[in-house]
Symmetry: C2
Subunit: 455 residues, 2 copies
C-alpha cells in the first residue's frame, strides 16, 4: 500500500534545515492542516519540534490523494525534499521556519478520532478541568509539554550538583509503618493483614542514610492527604531531598540549598530557552547572595509595609511570603530570601531547637519568586533528646525503631533540605495552578478521572 521506503532512516524535523535540497523521511503527528487552493499545508510535530509540509498535486498525485484523508493528530510517515521557503513566508518563530518539505509520499501510521478541542492552536484557551479530563491529549500541546522539559532539567540539575559534591543517591521506601511527620494528613494502605501508610516525605530514611554515606540525596514521591483543594498542593508530589552529616554550622545547610537552587535555575537558563520563550518569562538573576532573616523580623517588615499585623503568628501565610519576596527584590536586589528560626511548635519533632532560644528552631524556608521553594534545617542528632521529642509530639517511640537506631549508635550533627519539584516548576513559569506542573495530578477530586464523573 505504502510508497514510503522504510529502509531509509528517519530524520527529525529539527534536522531538516541542515538537509536543504535533500530527500528526507520524517515521521510524527499532524499538528494542523490548512488547505490553500490546490495546496495542502500540514504542520508535522515530532519530539524535536515542528516543520511545515506542502502537498502539491503537481508533485505527487498519490500523496495529494492520501493527504486529503488526513486530520489533526494522525500519525504519518512522509518522504519529501527539503526546500527553502520564499523569503516572504519564512517563519522566524520556528527553528525550521526557513524550510518546508515538498512531500512525495505519505503513509498513515495511526488514525485519530475527532478531537474534543483544537490542539493545534498556539494557546489552549481551556479551563484546567477540561485540560485534565483530556490529559493525554492536552499534554501534546507544545506549551504544555514544555513544562515537563523544564521539570526534567530541574531534577537532573539537582542530581548533578549533589553528585559532584560526593553525595550518594539512595532509593528509600514510600510504604511506611507510621505517619512520618505526624498529623492526620496521611493515606492508609491495606498492607496484607496490616495497616501501612504512604510516606509524607523520605525524611527519616535520608537521615538514617547520613550515618552510612554522610551525604545523600533522593528524588522520592511524597503523599499528603490534603483535605482541601488549593492551587499549591498535590496529594502526590515529587520531593527533591538532600541530607548531610558533619555540618560545621547550621548555616552551612543554607549555603548548600542556595548552591543547589542557583544551579537549577542556571541549568534551565542554559538548556530551556525555547521552552521559556513560550511562557515569556524571565528567570530570576542572582547578583548577590540571598539575604537571611528571622521569621519574627520578616513579620515585622511585612507589618511596616502593609499594616497587616501577623507579628504574633507562628508562620508566614502565602500573602506574607509574596510580600517578603517583594521586599527582598526591592531592598536587597534578590528575588529570593531565607526566612529562619521558625517556632519549635510549627516544625516537626526532629528539628533542632536554637540553643540560644529553644522556642525557635535552626530551620529555614527559602522563599522564591513568590512562594516557598525549599524547607530545611538542622536535625536533632542526640538520641535521648530525639526520643524525648517523639514522646512530646505525641508519637510512640516503638513506631520509630529503625529510625532511632541510627541515633542510638552514633550520629554526627546533620541537616538537610527538601523541595517540591512541581511547586518550583510552577513558580519558575508563573503557572497559576500546581496541577499544571504535574503530568497526572492527584488531588481529592481526581485520580486521572474526576471522581464526580465516575461515581
Amino acid at each position: 500500500m505504502s510508497n514510503v521506503k522504510s529502509s531509509e532512516k528517519r530524520v527529525l524535523t529539527l534536522e531538516t534545515p541542515s538537509r536543504l535540497g535533500k530527500e528526507v523521511l520524517l515521521a510524527g503527528w499532524i499538528k494542523t492542516r490548512r488547505d490553500h487552493g490546490k495546496l495542502i499545508f500540514l504542520d508535522l510535530r515530532d519530539r524535536s519540534g515542528i516543520v511545515q509540509l506542502v502537498i502539491n498535486p503537481k508533485i505527487s498525485q498519490v500523496a495529494y490523494k492520501k493527504a486529503e484523508e488526513l486530520k489533526p493528530e494522525y500519525v504519518i510517515k512522509v518522504q519529501g525534499s527539503v526546500k527553502q521557503r520564499p523569503t516572504a513566508t519564512i517563519n522566524k518563530e520556528l527553528d525550521t521556519g526557513s524550510v518546508e518539505i515538498e512531500v512525495e509520499n505519505i503513509e498513515i501510521i495511526s488514525k485519530a478520532e475527532a478531537l474534543p478541542f483544537d490542539i493545534g492552536a498556539d494557546v489552549l484557551n481551556l479551563e484546567l478541568p477540561t485540560l485534565l479530563d483530556n490529559r493525554s491529549l492536552s499534554l501534546r500541546h507544545p506549551k504544555v509539554s514544555a513544562i515537563f522539559k523544564i521539570q526534567q532539567t530541574l531534577a537532573q540539575s539537582f542530581r548533578k550538583t549533589l553528585k559532584e559534591e560526593g553525595f550518594t543517591e539512595i532509593f528509600v521506601p514510600t510504604l511506611v509503618p507510621t505517619a512520618t511527620e505526624g498529623g492526620a494528613e496521611v493515606f492508609p494502605v491495606e498492607y496484607y493483614d496490616h495497616k501501612a501508610y504512604l510516606a509524607q516525605s523520605p525524611q527519616m530514611y535520608k537521615q538514617i542514610m547520613t550515618s552510612i554515606f554522610e551525604r545523600v540525596f533522593t528524588i522520592a514521591h511524597a503523599y499528603r492527604a490534603e483535605p482541601s483543594v488549593t492551587t499549591r498542593h498535590l496529594s502526590e508530589y515529587v520531593s527533591l531531598d538532600a541530607e548531610f552529616g558533619f555540618i560545621n554550622s547550621w548555616e552551612e545547610i543554607m549555603e548548600w540549598a542556595e548552591k543547589v537552587v542557583l544551579s537549577m535555575i542556571e541549568d534551565v537558563r542554559e538548556k530551556n530557552q525555547k521552552e521559556l520563550k513560550l511562557f515569556g518569562v524571565t528567570l530570576p538573576e542572582f547578583k548577590k547572595s540571598i539575604p537571611r532573616m528571622k521569621m519574627r523580623d520578616a513579620l515585622g517588615i511585612i507589618f511596616k509595609r502593609t499594616k497587616r499585623d501577623h507579628r504574633n503568628e507562628p508562620d508566614l501565610d502565602p500573602a506574607d511570603e509574596k510580600e517578603i519576596c517583594k521586599w527582598a527584590n526591592e531592598e536587597c536586589g534578590s528575588p529570593f530570601v531565607f526566612i529562619t528560626h521558625y517556632p519549635t511548635k510549627k516544625r516537626p519533632f526532629y528539628t533542632m531547637p536554637d540553643p540560644k532560644d529553644p522556642g525557635y528552631t535552626l530551620s529555614f524556608d527559602l522563599l522564591g519568586v513568590s512562594e516557598e521553594w525549599v524547607t530545611g534545617g538542622q536535625r536533632i542528632n542526640d538520641y535521648k533528646m530525639l526520643l524525648g521529642n517523639i514522646k512530646k509530639w505525641g508519637n510512640k517511640p516503638e513506631n520509630f525503631q529503625i529510625y532511632l537506631q541510627s541515633f542510638k549508635y552514633g550520629m554526627p550533627p546533620e541537616g538537610g533540605f527538601a523541595m517540591g519539584l512541581e511547586r518550583i516548576t510552577k513558580d519558575i513559569l508563573g503557572l497559576s495552578n500546581i496541577r499544571e506542573a504535574s503530568l497526572f495530578p492527584r488531588d481529592m477530586e481526581r485520580i486521572d478521572e474526576r471522581f464526580s464523573a465516575i461515581d
Copy 2:
C-alpha cells in the same frame, strides 16, 4: 572542653596518604578498637573509607585519656599527623594502608550505646532477619553499604545512556485508579472517600508519554502484593522503565535493552572495583551479541539437557531460567539470553500479538547471570484492538480512559522494557536474597519492624 580546632578543614580518610607528614583533621565513626600495651589503635570510618589511628600517651596524654572512653560507633573528630607505617605493618587491602594517624586531639561528637553485634568484623555472620531488625546499624558495614554504591551506579548508568539517546525523563504517579496489570496482587489505598491503588508499574503512563516525547524513561516505585515470601520478590521495588515510539521493528526494542544493560555493567566495572572486590565477583563479559530464542525452543533445549519436560508450560520457572542461562554461556559464550514470544495469555493485555502466530506475543525477557533482568516487548498501538483486549482480559474500559485517549488520538508503533533495580543488583553480586539489595525491604512479614514483633 575540646582541643580540636574546628576552624581547620576536615580531610577525608582516603586523602590521608597524600598528606604524609602533615597535620589533618578527620571525622567519622569508630569501626574497631584494639588495645596493644600502652597504645590504642582505632579504625576510623568515614564516607571515603577507613584509616588507622594510633593513640600514644607519649604523644598526647589528653588524647589518650579521651581515647580510653571510646567504643565502637562513637562519632569523633581527631587531629593528628599522617605518618608512614613501618613496612611490616602496611595493609595492602586498604587504600590508606600505607599510613596511620598519630593522634594529638580527640573530640567525641556522638556516643553509641552497646552494639547488638560486632559491626567491625570483616564479615557479618548473621541471619538476614537479624540484619534487617537492625537495618540502620547493619547498613554501616562496608560490605553492606557497598551493595548500594553499586545500585547507585546501575540507576545512574540507566539514565545516562537513555539521556544521551534523546529520551526525556518523566515523573509519573504511583497512586492509580485501577490495577495496572490486572490481577489481585495490588495494594488498596484509602484515598479520601474513594479507593485507589498502588501502581504495579509505571507502564501505562510511560506509554502515554511516548505520544508526547516519543522516547521516555522513568525510575519509579512499583508495588506488588505478593502473597508469599520468596528470595526474588519485594512488595515495593524500584523499576527502571523505558518506552519509545516509532520503532522500525519489534527487535529494535531488544537492541535498546541490550545497549542499556551492557552500559550498566560496564559502568559498574569502571566505577565499583572496590565494592566488587568485597564480594569477589567477576562481572559478565560480553564478547558477542546476546542470542535470541523463542520460549518454545528454549523449553525444548532444557528438556534435551535435563530431561525436565516443561515443553507445554506457558513460562520458564526459575530453574529453567538458570538452565537456559547456563546453556547460553556454554554454547554461545554469552552470559545473557533473550527469550522471546511468550504466550499471549501469559502477558498483559497491552502486549502485541505476533501477527504470524497470534497465540504468542512480540515480547521478550532478557535473562541474566541466573534470572530475569529485563522484560519488554512491543505494545498494541491500535485503539480498537487495545479496547477489545481490555474487555477480553476482564477489565473495564472506563477505568482506562486517560490511557485509552493516547491511542484514540494517534499513537505510533511503540514498545519498551523494564527492569527491577534490586533484582539486578542481587544478580550482579550473587546475593542469596533480594532483601539484601533493598535499603529497607518491604514484604508481607515486615515494614522496617517484623509484624510478628509488633503485634
